[in-house]
């Protein structure tokens, strides 16, 4: 089932007319070299999907400033902003007409302007807690045992809000090592691709909350069967030292190194669990539509992502698991991002790289500066987090558009 075209709303008709005129005018101009990176994309959070008016405004704004692709968050906390056979409709859509389908609406509007729409799904993040979700068919109610366990032996469902904040987690996460989860999530993602004909399927929160979680009995048992060694509960409080490359000396040093070597194995196994979810989801999504672009938003620093949350995203590149990588490089300056891009260029093969740029945590001209600074870097696009920030700081998108329109320096 693909979304049906509907009559154009007034705001979109006006925007379309303006854009057609602008495009015609541009066709007359001498061709100015387009400054790289070529793709401009926006991450769009669910706040923009609560009603039709917001969606129309999103698309009109994006089109007006030559945005190419929208990455639209349609599964945020185990809930759906689309028609799903398994996930409950988001409570935030209460009061909207029953037939209101935010994803379908976005696609219909975006198609008019040639914008790509990528369905953005949060993967392991499930629910803010600490109360259970009200929808009986929410995954947390169907499979509370899938929710990850802390190193103190307690499942996240037993944490208070304060304890979750102290443990640096936004809420409940499904443990990626749970055997049933990878096929479950893969089917959720494939359903979106089959029903909506999206241009891309985008994964976010594809990870552990952090190193403090993932200590359920089942996960530990599987680890021991597959890798041997000691029960990882012993490693729960062990911090892998940055001094790993120096010789370990003294009794404390030798015992710590014994734990370090086991921790390296444990980290690798954890990362494998996350990678398994990525691989299963890619397979299901590509089966549903081989042309769909499969992408992910990992933490910016590959080693930190690997150690802290189990994202081996360089390994995802190696295995050809993603078509587009969108690392969340929100805090870097252009030279640092360009340096990362050059490093990734040696690793990523045919996969594309959209550099994630923070629109929420800098001044309004920062995204444009970053885009300009990446002109010579091996980057295929920039993706801004997020559209809402662009709305709050109206200079962002015009400045970015201006950067792209500037002729290449001689």
């Amino acid at each position: 089932m693909r979304p049906e075209a509907k009559p154009l709303p007034v705001t979109l008709r006006a925007a379309l007319a303006t854009l057609l005129l602008a495009a015609a005018a541009r066709a007359e101009e001498p061709s100015a070299a387009a400054p790289p990176p070529p793709v401009r994309a926006l991450w769009v959070t669910t706040e923009t999907l609560y009603n039709r008016g917001e969606i129309e405004r999103l698309v009109a704004t994006a089109a007006a400033y030559d945005v190419d692709a929208l990455f639209v968050q349609v599964r945020r906390a185990g809930d759906a902003y689309y028609r799903s056979e398994t996930e409950p409709r988001s409570r935030k859509l209460e009061g909207q007409p029953e037939d209101f389908d935010p994803l379908a609406e976005t696609i219909v509007c975006a198609r008019l302007f040639g914008l790509e729409v990528h369905a953005w799904l949060n993967v392991n993040y499930l629910w803010p807690g600490p109360e259970m979700p009200p929808a009986a068919n929410h995954l947390a109610n169907r499979h509370a045992e899938w929710i990850t366990v802390g190193r103190d032996g307690r499942r996240l469902t037993r944490y208070t809000k304060r304890e979750m904040a102290a443990a640096d987690t936004e809420g409940w996460y499904v443990d990626p090592a749970v055997k049933g989860f990878a096929p479950y999530f893969a089917s959720v993602a494939a359903e979106v691709v089959r029903k909506y004909g999206v241009d891309g399927l985008h994964l976010d929160f594809i990870r552990y909350p952090n190193y403090r979680f993932g200590y359920g009995k089942g996960a530990r048992g599987t680890y021991l069967r597959e890798r041997g060694g000691q029960d990882p509960i012993l490693l729960g409080y062990h911090k892998l030292g940055d001094e790993f490359y120096r010789p370990a000396v003294g009794y404390g040093g030798l015992v710590n190194r014994w734990l370090d070597l086991q921790a390296l194995e444990w980290l690798d196994w954890r990362a494998d669990q996350v990678t398994n979810v990525v691989a299963a989801t890619r397979a299901a999504v590509k089966e549903a539509d081989p042309e769909v672009q499969f992408s992910a938003a990992p933490w910016a620093n590959p080693e930190h992502a690997y150690r802290y949350v189990g994202q081996d995203w360089l390994g995802w590149y190696d295995r050809g698991l993603v078509d587009v990588m969108c690392p969340m490089t929100y805090w870097g300056e252009a030279p640092k991002l360009a340096s990362l891009a050059r490093r990734l260029a040696r690793r990523r093969g045919e996969a594309r790289l959209y550099m994630g740029v923070g629109a929420f945590n800098h001044g309004p001209f920062y995204p444009a500066e970053i885009a300009a600074g990446l002109a010579q870097a091996p980057v295929d696009g920039v993706i801004l987090f997020d559209y809402g920030s662009c709305w709050r700081q109206p200079e962002i998108l015009p400045a970015l558009a201006e950067t792209y329109a500037a002729p290449e320096s001689p």
């Binding site: 190193r151 103190d152 032996g153 200590y215 060694g229 000691q230 509960i233 012993l234 490693l235 729960g236 409080y237 062990h238 892998l240 940055d242 790993f244 490359y245 120096r246 010789p247 370990a248 000396v249 003294g250 009794y251 404390g252 040093g253 030798l254 015992v255 710590n256 190194r257 014994w258 734990l259 070597l261 086991q262 390296l264 194995e265 980290l267 690798d268 990362a271 590959p302 080693e303 690997y306 150690r307 081996d312 360089l314 390994g315």
Partner: protein
């Protein structure tokens, strides 16, 4: 700047470890006929400490050599495949600032795998983990686990489950250090240890 300096020192230390004396510097101790030099200390710290810090480091290096000798005495070692794997996993986790295929680095990693096997097979199994031992460890030092521990022993006991796995971690480490020290003390006389640092 600090990172650059640290990296440079580590590179120097790694290079020093590969070069035979006199670049190895002064001999600071001998264990079973093997000389421990200033280059070994440099590899640990990235600089050459003086005074008590130097003495402590040399003692640490001596302990390491003795444990290594104990492990080899049990016919333990590390295969090339095991070294390759540990090196690859360390690269994933850390992205080291130097080539990980250098002979010196691989030799040291092999030694640490060998030591880890000894700890795994001959030390860890001797750690007696019982709930009573863990509770006693917790009750003796509650301040290590919480800012304001209750004075009432019963209330403290009720809090134990929350901290149990953290207690386990610290308890096992402490016990292993103690058992390792015992093993080193027993083996030391047979290895003709000489230390030339005050």
């Amino acid at each position: 700047m600090k990172n650059v300096t640290t990296t440079s020192l580590l590179l120097l230390a790694a290079a020093a470890a590969l070069v035979p004396s006199p670049a190895a510097g002064r001999t600071l101790a001998v264990v079973g006929g093997k000389a421990l030099t200033e280059a070994d200390v440099l590899a640990v710290h990235g600089y050459l400490p003086q005074g008590p810090e130097l003495r402590e480091t040399v003692e640490g290096l001596v302990q390491r050599e003795i444990v290594l000798a104990l492990a080899r005495g049990k016919a333990l070692g590390a295969s090339a495949g095991e070294i390759d794997r540990a090196a690859a996993l360390a690269v994933k986790a850390f992205r080291p600032p130097f080539p990980t295929n250098s002979e010196g680095y691989r030799r040291r990693l092999g030694e640490e795998i060998t030591i880890a096997k000894y700890l795994d097979r001959y030390v860890y199994p001797r750690v007696a983990v019982t709930e009573e031992a863990l509770r006693a460890y917790f009750a003796a030092r509650p301040g290590e686990f919480m800012k304001r521990p209750p004075r009432d022993r019963e209330a403290l006991g009720k809090l134990f489950p929350r901290y149990r796995n953290e207690v386990l971690y610290l308890y096992v480490k402490a016990e292993m250090r103690r058992l390792l020290a015992e093993a080193v003390r027993e083996a030391r006389p047979s290895l003709n240890v000489e230390i030339y640092v005050d």
